[in-house]
């Protein structure tokens, strides 16, 4: 008898290991779609919550079942879900991570769903970064902008011309002279804050690859995405990075800013090289002294970054139409404005852009929108090799600004990137 009890106790202990996997009963009623998104900034999350709620209550065909995942490890969790086959119907991606999923067939092309009208209304940058292998895999409700913020008082005192818009940016010589003049001001300890307090990571690629591109180089040869050789370590890229390195060596910028607010709080820097997300703190700190300066023409053309979070429908979804229904709701101009008025990002549709107080005609951040519309913005490399490219480039940038040999560091980055592409047999684009 005691043995029997023992056995059952044992069984009870083991059972939970094998339990689980209950079968779900099919329920009549609305189609339920699972939606994953990153739990971002407070305002962003609140808007999305409100949108899910409104969407669920305004119709009864599709019910959205939202799951918020912490932003810090969002990409890792999505990748792991891919391996275990647990992807939801609809989810959002951090910019260039999208291509890996599209390449491996985990996303469906959205082309059949996108109307001509919607397509013509989207910012070209949204289409560019959402397209892989000739098909559109993702749409964003907002985009990002990168330019130079300036302190008007310092600029005027130093006698530096403030460009009006993207048609008359500084060229290399003018930028150089501006740095020299601003450095001479007694108010500045250094001239330009490159936000290195963000630390080595995606910021380095987003913020500093435009420098290489403006000089005429790039992160990879975009004709076939097979090699970075001769491009990332070519003469233009080396020249660009040597110039960037010299900014730190000659004291125009510092590698370790003590905090975030040298430009807008302590006002010991005259310029800040950073994106649209700093609008609020900059505005609060500098008031009417804040000016937005378009990206300079360091070489033949001015270049800036683009890209933000965007939505894609997975190939595991049994109800892509239902998922699209929710996505197209999010893509309505009014919903886009609802989101961008809250998080301050650039609205992804021209019709929404026109109505935006910040980015519309005459708005304080119009330059960001102009850069995205006017071909100044360049997408980060559209290839599944992107995780390796960004890691290798960020490492090279870190070593270069701390005094490494530019050519050697870029050679190392090229070697890592090319190795990764070779390991994956050139990342053949699916038919």
């Amino acid at each position: 008898m005691r043995k029997l009890i023992c056995f059952f106790l044992m069984l009870l202990l083991i059972l939970p290991v094998f339990a689980g996997g209950k079968k779900e009963k099919a329920v009549e009623g609305p189609t339920v779609i699972k939606v994953w998104f990153h739990s971002g900034k407070g305002e962003e999350r609140e808007v999305l919550d409100a949108q899910v709620k409104e969407f669920n209550s305004m119709q009864n065909e599709v019910r959205v079942d939202p799951v918020r995942l912490p932003e810090g490890s969002y990409n890792e969790q999505v990748s792991a879900a891919t391996l275990s086959g647990d992807l939801p119907d609809l989810l959002d991606f951090d910019g260039p991570n999208l291509y890996n999923y599209a390449w491996a067939g985990h996303l469906i092309p959205l082309d059949p769903y996108i109307s001509e009208e919607l397509k013509n209304d989207l910012l070209p940058s949204i289409l560019q970064q959402g397209t892989y292998g000739g098909k559109i895999y993702a749409l964003g409700t907002f985009d990002s902008g990168l330019a130079i913020w300036g302190n008007r008082e310092y600029l005027e005192k130093a006698g530096v011309r403030i460009p009006n818009g993207i048609d008359d940016p500084w060229d290399f010589k003018e930028f150089k002279e501006a740095l020299e003049k601003l450095q001479a001001l007694p108010e500045t300890e250094y001239v330009i804050d490159f936000k290195l307090n963000y630390g080595q990571g995606e910021w380095y690629t987003y913020g500093f690859s435009p420098i290489i591109q403006s000089f005429g180089g790039d992160l990879i040869d975009r004709s076939d995405y097979q090699s970075a050789g001769g491009v990332l370590n070519g003469p233009e890229a080396v020249k660009a990075m040597e110039w960037f390195q010299s900014l730190f060596e000659e004291g125009y910028s510092i590698i370790r800013p003590p905090g975030d607010d040298d430009f807008y709080g302590k006002k010991i820097a005259a310029l800040s090289w950073v994106g649209h997300w700093m609008w609020q703190p900059h505005r609060n700190g500098l008031g009417d002294n804040l000016v937005l300066i378009p990206m300079p023409k360091l070489g033949d053309r001015a270049v800036t970054g683009m890209g933000s979070w965007c939505w894609g429908i997975t190939s595991q979804s049994k109800n892509p139409e239902a998922a699209w229904k929710f996505l197209s709701y999010l893509m309505q101009p009014s919903q886009i404005l609802f989101m961008t008025n809250a998080n301050g990002a650039v609205p992804s549709r021209k019709s929404a852009l026109a109505k935006s107080e910040l980015y519309g005609e005459g708005g304080p951040l119009q330059i960001f929108a102009d850069q995205l519309r006017g071909g100044v913005a360049v997408p980060r490399p559209i290839t599944p090799a992107y995780p390796t490219i960004t890691q290798a480039f960020a490492e090279a940038v870190q070593n270069i600004i701390t005094g490494g040999n530019v050519k050697e560091e870029l050679d190392k980055a090229v070697q890592k990137i090319d190795q990764d592409i070779k390991d994956n047999e050139g990342y053949p684009i699916p038919e």
């Binding site: 043995k3 023992c6 056995f7 044992m10 202990l13 083991i14 290991v17 990409n75 890792e76 990748s79 792991a80 891919t82 391996l83 890996n100 999923y101 390449w103 491996a104 067939g105 985990h106 630390g199 080595q200 990571g201 370790r256 003590p258 905090g259 995780p387 390796t388 890691q391 870190q398 070593n399 701390t402 990764d420 390991d423 994956n424 047999e425 053949p428 699916p430």
Partner: protein
């Protein structure tokens, strides 16, 4: 004659029952260890075998059906040998363990001796020293991140300035390649020392008082008592503490990931951080698995060597 047979029968029967009893005991033993064994199998042994298999392949985190996973032999291992980041990670692990294990162990012993004294509020002190252990490492790391603020407003920089009368300039701690790993050592020791303290405390209370009494009768002072009674009596405790701290030190990940993610300039790169980065950020599960296998062998070797050097005294019954 008949008497003899019966006797023989009883002996045989006795032997049979003994064997049957042993067999029953074996069954019970297996049954009782079954839950633990199942869990070990599912969460440790199977994953390890899988990791070993993956390490011989080019498995990606995001699988591509058009480009199936292939077995690529020892390529991952050969590449690891020439990966300078991996070398740096291993060196950092040894540096970290080399500092943290002796320092943390001595601190733990010191604290244990302190709270073992007949002090007022001794339970309060025990609780205070133990409280970092029950605090989640992520929380500890974030709080220390604030304390290590690189400006002169940072708590630790202020403290250094006031005790040196302003002779120390604000240190950049987590942003300085030379100071980042030591900064992480400091917070790791602070967080972990309470656990070892409790183990030492148990060890201290196990030492029979007669040993101290006779030592005192022989005229030993407190130092002599400490070196000739306490330390030898704590031998097994010390071995356990040293080995478990070593293994924990090699697993260094959370605090680094929260505070520096391996930077600046790989100065805080550890094997675990590299493994996570390769596997989850760069999607190279095969390569990350190779790191895991090599790492396992290194930790195994270190613990075996430690055990050999500090031969444990086993109680012989």
């Amino acid at each position: 004659m008949s008497d003899q047979t019966t006797q023989k029968g009883t002996v045989l029967k006795g032997r049979n029952t003994l064997q049957a009893h042993k067999k029953k005991e074996a069954v019970a033993a297996w049954l009782f260890s079954a839950p633990a064994l199942t869990l070990l199998l599912v969460f440790l042994i199977v994953p390890f075998i899988l990791a070993f298999y993956f390490s011989l392949t080019n498995q990606r985190l995001i699988p591509n059906p058009n480009l199936p996973t292939r077995i690529i032999g020892l390529t991952n291992y050969i590449r690891l040998l020439s990966d300078s980041t991996f070398h740096r990670a291993i060196l950092n692990n040894f540096y970290f363990a080399g500092v943290v294990v002796p320092v943390q162990t001595s601190f733990a012993l010191g604290l244990a001796m302190l709270v073992n004294k007949k002090l007022k509020f001794k339970n309060l002190f025990r609780t205070i020293y133990f409280s970092p252990v029950v605090t989640a490492m992520v929380v500890v790391a974030i709080v220390w991140g604030f304390l290590f603020n690189p400006t002169d407003r940072g708590f630790i920089n202020r403290l250094l300035q006031s005790i040196t009368f302003g002779n120390v300039q604000p240190l950049e701690w987590l942003h300085d390649p030379k100071l980042a790993l030591p900064a992480i050592m400091i917070l790791s020791i602070w967080q972990g020392v309470g656990f070892q303290m409790i183990i030492y405390l148990a060890g201290l209370q196990d030492i029979p008082n007669e040993l101290y009494e006779s030592a005192r009768v022989d005229g030993a002072n407190s130092w002599q008592q400490f070196f000739n009674v306490t330390i030898p009596q704590l031998r097994n405790t010390t071995i356990f503490v040293a080995i478990s701290t070593t293994i924990l030190a090699f697993k260094l990940f959370t605090q680094v990931w929260v505070l520096t993610q391996g930077g600046p300039m790989e100065s805080t790169m550890t094997t675990m951080v590299l493994l996570y980065r390769q596997g989850f950020r760069q999607l190279r599960v095969g390569y990350a698995s190779a790191i895991a296998v090599i790492f396992f062998l290194i930790v195994l070797a270190v613990s075996l060597i430690q055990k050999l050097i500090m031969k444990e005294e086993r109680a012989v019954s």
